[in-house]
């Protein structure tokens, strides 16, 4: 933790832009507190978008986060992150970092993401589990699904990324202002494809992600449902964005 603390201080000193971390959460009372505390070390503010949780997520998060926005009705991750983007835009932050509330995304990678954004001028940085060995712990169905969707986005968007479904991301807020509102599901695919087609630069860093978290379900049913939805999402971006 000392190393992380020192690193955080170093990042803070070197950083020239304001950074907001957004954490979409649905019934994550058990883990969210720790995630917020760790994320706070690397960013200016942390806000939680409570997606109509029925447990104590909101109350727990309020004690440690700079703000908690609560959806009256559940919208899904796409809706929750979009609410976070709206706050970042209206409060004039320069950079948004987005991570899951279930602890799957280790906040200690935030400095590397911010460095890529600031020094390389990248518009979007994605934390990829395919750039390390952690993807091998995932089920075959899940790996096949992620590979398929990544291949399609690479093909349609002219990209060369490895993990399009990852929700661990950092963005330049100017880019977010230019992107449309993503669907509540498959938001990651839609957002990546739209950003690529609008000419924004997208980069990846290696982030190990454990598969056994409650918020990361990818079943056979999801695998079957995804292709037609993916086709519609792609059509939507190609036609309307």
């Amino acid at each position: 933790m000392d190393n992380a603390g020192e690193k955080a201080t170093e990042v803070e000193e070197n950083r020239s832009r304001s950074v907001l971390a957004i954490i979409p959460a649905h019934n994550e009372a058990d883990t969210i507190c720790e995630v917020i505390r760790e994320a706070k070390e690397y960013v200016d503010d942390v806000i939680v978008i409570d997606d109509a949780s029925t447990d104590d997520t909101r109350d727990v998060a309020k004690n440690v986060a700079a703000g908690v926005i609560t959806h009256p009705k559940n919208m899904g991750v796409g809706g929750a992150v979009h609410t976070g983007y709206q706050v970042a835009i209206s409060d004039n932050y320069d950079v948004v970092v987005q991570l899951d509330a279930d602890g799957q995304h280790d906040p200690s990678h935030i400095p590397t993401m911010l460095t890529r954004l600031e020094e390389d001028g990248t518009d979007m940085v994605i934390g990829s589990r395919w750039l390390n060995e952690s993807y091998k712990d995932y089920s075959v169905v899940r790996r096949a699904g992620i590979s398929f969707f990544t291949y399609e986005v690479n093909l349609l968007g002219g990209l060369d990324i490895t993990d399009v479904t990852s929700g661990y991301r950092a963005y330049d807020v100017d880019m977010l202002e230019d992107l449309g509102r993503p669907e509540n599901s498959h938001w990651a695919l839609e957002q990546t494809l739209e950003a690529a087609r609008k000419g924004y630069s997208i980069d990846e860093i290696s982030v190990p992600m454990p598969p056994e978290t409650d918020g990361s379900q990818f079943t056979l049913e999801t695998f079957i449902k995804y292709p037609p939805r993916m086709a519609l999402t792609s059509l939507k971006v190609l036609l309307f964005r």
Binding site: R58, G67, P72, G79, H82, T83, N184, L232, L239, F240
Partner: protein, 138 residues
Amino acid sequence: MMLKFDPIHAIGIIISLALFYQSARLVRKRKESVFEFLLWMSFGVVLFSLAVGSAIKTVSMREQVQKIFNFVGFSSGFEGLFALAILGLLLMLFYTYINAKTNRNKLYDLNQELALLRYEVEKSQGDETPSDPTGNDD
């Protein structure tokens, strides 16, 4: 290829062009309704094919349509009428689905707007007495 245009063919082509225009209008105005685009575009394509196809006299469109109907189990008379009725119902179902989806998206927008407004109010009040966001205050 021999073409013989009757007024009915021209009407079919005009209506199908109107459907294409409707599809293009959705794209130009960035309406983001993929289903609606598919609805107008697919009916436009079918109508255009029928209108142009039936004007080409070297291929008997009526025979081709009859063959397709027979293949899927419909023949002429009442069964053909039922087939058309089913197509009509599918159109209505499709359109109802689009309306339901549009309304659902509007509800999502309102949901988000409400959440952001509550957040702003709480922030401006110093977050002293946060209300129950689900509206179950009593």
